[in-house]
């Protein structure tokens, strides 16, 4: 079920009144049943998968509590993590490995069968497996107590707002909120609606409008000149941001209406002036997951510089692989890993020695702007790999852009969509830029009429500029 579909509107409008009319266990059962309905709407067969993962991690969590037998705890942790990874690996990487294996066989002159089994990727599997893994790891590390109620735990795994594309919510944040009935709170409802409207703006106005320009360019890069492709790449950066941040905001907004407070998942990432800041602003729930459960356990930055660089690279490569089994995603992760490493080297060798003393505020701002543009440019370069259908297309696009020929405005196709897209990006950047100067949240919270005016204006803007057509969310494929 897509958030931007009539099905979902009917679903949520039926669910919310029932949710607030019920209490205690009834409400929890209703939440679980609705979450399973939401997930099963896509393909009911995978309800079995989510149920198995829930039972497995719940059982393992209960058995990681023994204070006297650390070995037993470790065994149950291993069962939980390995089986989650195996399930994830099977569904996500089976096709990749068989395809590569068949290609290798063909290359060696053997007849690699092309009739290999094709596996369907269950929607949201990467999100809910990471969520359940974080739970058992936190229990093992004694950060949280194991959950005793299977019902609560099942809701934690399958809660519909964030089930298929995050944010990846930690058990320490979510499960305690399940233990008390969330009261009907008008402030939560208004804030939830505000978040949902902004989320829809990002998805329907920004992402879906830009996708019309982006898709046609990446479908056949040879049809477009360098300027046209450069526009496609920049638009994709904002498309994926609008799409993913939009989904997260709708998820957080729906949860807020139901009384749950989920952490922010995107915080104006394209205003980042370096790569570590970018990862503190982009897909925060995933980047913090990798930081806490991979980068730090690998040693983080505690075991010397070389190991820190290695850890950064491993984390980012696996971050790329998390998105999907393709060399393009691995290269995307690799570019970010390298960028983080180079940034560290730069910082350690240059910035520390030479303290910058800008003569005026203007130069500080200009320097910051340059850094933002530079960071954004490298992020865009990495997006080329993320978006292209294959490695050849990615290299073709990059070669075309960097040849600096063929930058002819008259050769840019879909001019009206391009102008509309550029205008929408400017509006988004302006609004987000302004939010650094004005605390919009406080302003809106303190002035109820202003909130309503802002939300109504956004709704009209969505009606006027939105692209409607049940467009799926990009991160559903992950």
């Amino acid at each position: 079920m897509l958030f931007n579909s009539i099905d979902f509107i009917i679903f949520i409008l039926s669910f919310i009144p029932l949710y607030f009319l019920t209490k205690g266990k009834t409400r929890l059962w209703l939440s679980l049943g609705s979450s399973y309905l939401f997930y099963g709407w896509w393909d009911y067969r995978f309800l079995l998968l989510i149920s198995v993962l829930t039972l497995l991690n719940f059982y393992c969590g209960l058995n990681i509590t023994g204070k006297t037998n650390p070995k037993r705890n470790y065994i149950f942790l291993s069962i939980s993590v390995i089986s989650s990874l195996l399930i994830l690996g099977f569904f996500k990487y089976y096709n990749f490995f068989t395809d590569n294996f068949i290609s290798m066989l063909n290359l060696l002159g053997f007849d690699g069968s092309s009739n290999a089994l094709r596996i369907i990727l269950p929607v949201g599997i990467s999100f809910y497996t990471f969520q359940t893994m974080s739970y058992t790891l936190d229990v093992y590390n004694k950060k949280i107590e194991p959950e005793k109620s299977l019902l609560n735990f099942a809701i934690f795994v399958a809660f519909f707002p964030q089930l298929v594309a995050g944010p990846i919510v930690r058990a320490s944040c979510f499960i305690p909120q399940l233990k008390t009935d969330r009261a009907f709170n008008s402030e939560d409802i208004v804030n939830g609606i505000r978040l949902i409207i902004w989320g829809f703006f990002l998805k329907v106005v920004i992402a879906d409008s830009l996708s019309m320009v982006v898709d046609i360019r990446f479908e056949n890069p040879a049809c477009h000149n360098a300027l046209s492709m450069l526009i496609g790449v920049i638009f994709y950066a904002f498309q994926i941001y609008g799409d993913f941040a939009g989904y997260s905001l709708i998820a957080i907004g729906v949860a807020r209406i139901l009384g749950f407070k989920f952490p922010v998942n995107f915080d104006r990432p394209y205003f980042a002036s370096n790569f570590s800041e970018f990862w503190q602003r982009w897909h925060i729930s995933l980047s913090s997951w990798f930081r806490d459960y991979l980068y730090i356990p690998l040693g983080g930055n505690r075991s010397g510089e070389l190991k820190m660089y290695r850890n950064l690279l491993i984390t980012m490569l696996l971050g790329g692989l998390w998105h999907g089994a393709s060399w393009n995603f691995i290269i995307w992760g690799g570019i970010h890993g390298m960028a983080l490493m180079i940034q560290r080297v730069w910082h350690d060798f240059f910035a520390k020695k030479k303290q910058l003393s800008p003569s005026s505020v203007i130069s500080i701002n200009a320097l910051k702007l340059l850094k933002i543009i530079f960071t954004f440019s490298i992020v865009c370069l990495a997006w080329v790999f993320f978006r292209s259908s294959n490695l050849n297309d990615s290299l073709y696009v990059i070669e075309k852009i960097f040849q600096f020929e063929d930058y002819n405005v008259s050769g840019v196709t879909q001019k009206f969509h391009v102008i509309k897209g550029a205008m929408l990006i400017c509006i988004l950047v302006f609004i987000e830029g302004m939010s650094f100067r004005i605390n919009t949240t406080n302003l809106i919270n303190e002035h109820a009429y202003l909130t309503m005016l802002w939300s109504a204006g956004l709704l009209v803007f969505i009606a006027l500029f939105g692209t409607f057509g049940n467009n799926s969310f990009i991160y559903f494929q992950f």
Binding site: A222, C223, K420, A456, V460
Partner: protein, 299 residues
């Protein structure tokens, strides 16, 4: 402020902003110089009307055609336009204007689909046919336009309406040339769909149109605009043309092989301005047009 008050304020403000914006945009739409705004708000009374999809836009360059013939023409083609919508637009045209002498129709619009129809929702108030077609084929869009009046201006077409607010849209044509690497990458089998078999339903609509226009003394000339050499397949094109001939008893002006110089193409399926000039001179030599120009100059 209570939750109910907040929600009522939100809904009321939404409708108020929406109404004010839609009134302003409607004014802009009515005063625009784009072809269909002119159709619904001005008297045009052209001697010749061109219709078609994007191939119609880029094949029939009416300013050049007017210079060449001394006649007054209008191009009512639009990207993705198909025959049922052409039918509705021409009916609306004939209701508001004198019947033209000739209607040229680019035949690749002979499809019975409605994908482009939502672009015309801003004319629902002007055209009953468009309103009914939207209601039938896009009920969601039709009913959504009752909730938000601004929504009817949410289309690529409306952006063009703004672009041509003060500009003559008849000069709209591709002014670039096909890229060499793109031309080299074209695989012939990909785009023969352009002249594939015409749906029976599309042919029926076209036949009815031709019969009606004949009664009004309008000459209908179907034209198959130039096709890039890589896509040309004589057998397929011959079958396609004979299909139209058999059904409508009209001779198709076959210009599919009239342009062999690839610098006259903007992309794989559209000519550019240079190509359109060549097409205009080919059409100028048609006997129907010669007769018309002689009569006009005689008058």
């Amino acid at each position: 402020m209570t939750l109910a008050k907040k929600l009522i304020t939100l809904i009321f403000t939404f409708f108020l902003i929406d109404l004010l914006i839609s009134i302003s945009l409607s004014e802009l739409s009515n005063s625009s110089k784009i072809r269909f705004s002119r159709l619904y708000n001005e008297e045009i009374n052209a001697d010749i009307v061109f219709v078609g999809d994007s191939r119609g836009i880029n094949s029939f360059y009416s300013p050049y055609f007017d210079d060449l013939t001394g006649l007054n023409s209008i191009n009512l083609s639009y990207n993705g336009l198909t025959i049922p919508i052409v039918n509705a637009l021409l009916d609306d045209y004939l209701e508001r204007n004198k019947a033209p002498k000739i209607i040229f129709i680019e035949t690749t619009c002979l499809k019975d689909t409605y994908n482009v129809l939502p672009n015309f929702k801003q004319y629902m108030a002007h055209s009953l046919s468009i309103k009914n077609m939207l209601k039938e084929h896009y009920p969601n869009i039709f009913y959504a336009s009752f909730i938000s009046k601004s929504y009817i201006f949410n289309s690529e077409y409306f952006l063009r309406t703004l672009y041509y607010l003060k500009k003559n849209d008849q000069k709209w044509i591709n002014r670039y040339t096909i890229r060499k690497d793109y031309y080299d990458s074209i695989k012939p089998e990909n785009n023969l769909k352009m002249v594939e078999k015409i749906d029976d339903s599309a042919m029926i609509i076209f036949k009815i149109m031709v019969t009606e226009y004949r009664k009004k003394g309008i000459v209908v000339i179907p034209v198959l605009a130039p096709i890039l050499d890589k896509y040309r397949n004589e057998t397929v094109i011959d079958n396609y043309i004979s299909d139209i001939n058999t059904n409508t008893k009209l001779d198709v002006v076959d210009l599919s092989d009239a342009v062999n110089d690839i610098s006259m193409f903007a992309d794989a399926v559209h000519t550019n301005e240079k190509g359109a000039h060549l097409i205009a001179s080919k059409l100028y030599n048609l006997p129907e047009l010669k007769n018309l120009t002689i009569t006009s100059s005689g008058q």
